[in-house]
């Protein structure tokens, strides 16, 4: 029985991963992901950025929804807002 060395195994696996990335399905996934990049940018960067600025400027980290009952983090508001801003940017073709 022919033994396949660890190095050869690595190369075989790596080649299969490359083929996967070259596949049409993967390309479609990537294209779709990239077409929504402003949304991801708004969700995962602008939202947290706005929350940090609010926290540093006004010292607000929690927001009261129902007085004395529930509070949520500012991030829970700014992240969806950031994502919505990104979506709006795609729709309007402009951030501002």
């Amino acid at each position: 029985m022919e033994l396949v060395s660890k190095r050869e195994t690595f190369h075989i696996c790596f080649d299969k991963i490359l083929i996967l990335f070259h596949s049409r399905v993967m390309q479609r996934v990537l294209e779709t992901f990239l077409s929504f990049l402003p949304v991801w940018f708004g969700l995962f960067f602008l939202g947290p950025l706005i929350a940090e600025i609010i926290g540093l400027s006004f010292g607000i980290t929690q927001v009261t929804i129902i007085p004395s009952i529930s509070e949520i983090s500012v991030y829970a508001i700014t992240i969806p807002l950031g994502g919505a801003w990104g979506g709006l940017a795609i729709w309007r073709g402009r951030w501002i």
Binding site: F41, F44, P48, I90
Partner: protein, 306 residues
């Protein structure tokens, strides 16, 4: 002058002679003879520039995150390193550090790939589109720089650059259309590389934000990148080609004066020499311009008040 060989001409001869009497081929021969003095001359400055620039940019991150350096002190340094990141890559795009087969080819490729890291652009993407810009300078349909860098006034130019930053802007589409039109192996690799760079850049930004450092990433990278975009496009693309863009070897680029001379314009006051002889290193284009000036004037090149 007709009895001397071209190789004997001195600068004094050039300034005294009436070059307009020379034929087209004689002028071209003279031009090439002068340009040849500058091609293939690699300086330590042009090698040290990208290395130091990238080292400074990279070092800002641990210094700011550890609290050693104030973010507001780091911000102007970050902006400066982003502004200075493009040009060494630009020289590499023209194989100035080393052509294929040269011993310094590895240096060319290394600087080409590493230098533009602060501005989150891939070497192949920049190279393929920039070569097309040279081939079709100021052609609205074929020059990928045209939509982003056009404008008959500074206000129009600023508006165009701002619009180019928006989702699916005309400028972004122009670059992608250029690479798609080329449809070569290198063009496809350029698209792949740029996608990878965008993904990695956004990954870093998202990771910083997830760890409570969104503002650091914003001030150290995102804002300096935008500043560099405006600055570089103003001096490298708009001023030398606009307003009133024309086409043709001696018409598509013009010289201009800058408030701090060559320094503030990153050497672009002599950009006309770069378009005529792209393999002259950036740091030598002002000197080459001085030597070529009589020839350029004989050709009717717009040298402004240079």
């Amino acid at each position: 002058m007709e009895h001397q060989s071209q190789g004997d001409l001195t600068k004094s001869d050039l300034t005294k002679s009436d070059l307009t009497k020379l034929s087209d081929s004689e002028l071209m021969s003279l031009e090439r003879q002068i340009a040849k003095r500058y091609i293939g001359r690699l300086s330590w400055f042009m090698v040290a520039w990208p290395v130091l620039n990238l080292a400074v940019w990279v070092s800002l991150w641990p210094l700011v995150l550890s609290g050693t350096l104030s973010i507001w002190a780091a911000f102007p340094l970050a902006a400066l390193t982003c502004i200075l990141a493009y040009l060494p890559c630009h020289d590499a795009q023209h194989d100035i550090y080393g052509r294929p087969g040269d011993q310094t080819r590895w240096l060319n490729q290394m600087i080409g790939h590493l230098s533009p890291i602060p501005i989150a652009l891939s070497y192949r993407f920049l190279r393929e589109t920039h070569i097309e810009h040279h081939k079709h300078a100021n052609n609205p349909a074929l020059d990928p720089d045209y939509p982003t860098n056009s404008g008959n006034s500074i206000r129009e130019f600023l508006s165009n650059v701002y619009l180019s930053m928006q989702p699916n802007s005309e400028g972004q589409v122009a670059y992608m259309n250029c690479l798609t039109r080329l449809d070569t192996d290198e063009a496809r690799k350029a698209i792949r590389d740029q996608v990878l760079v965008v993904l990695v850049q956004h990954g870093i930004l998202f990771a910083m934000a997830a760890n409570g450092h969104a503002l650091t990433a914003f001030i150290l990278w995102w804002v300096p990148l935008k500043i560099a975009l405006f600055y570089n496009r103003f001096y490298l693309s708009w001023l030398p080609h606009f307003p009133d863009p024309q086409r043709g070897r001696y018409r598509d680029t013009h010289s201009f004066t800058s408030w701090l001379g060559n320094l503030s314009s990153l050497g672009m006051t002599a950009h006309v020499v770069h378009h005529l002889h792209p393999r002259i290193p950036l740091d030598l284009t002002p000197a080459a311009m001085r030597d070529l000036k009589p020839v350029l004037l004989a050709r009717g090149v717009d040298l402004g008040s240079a």
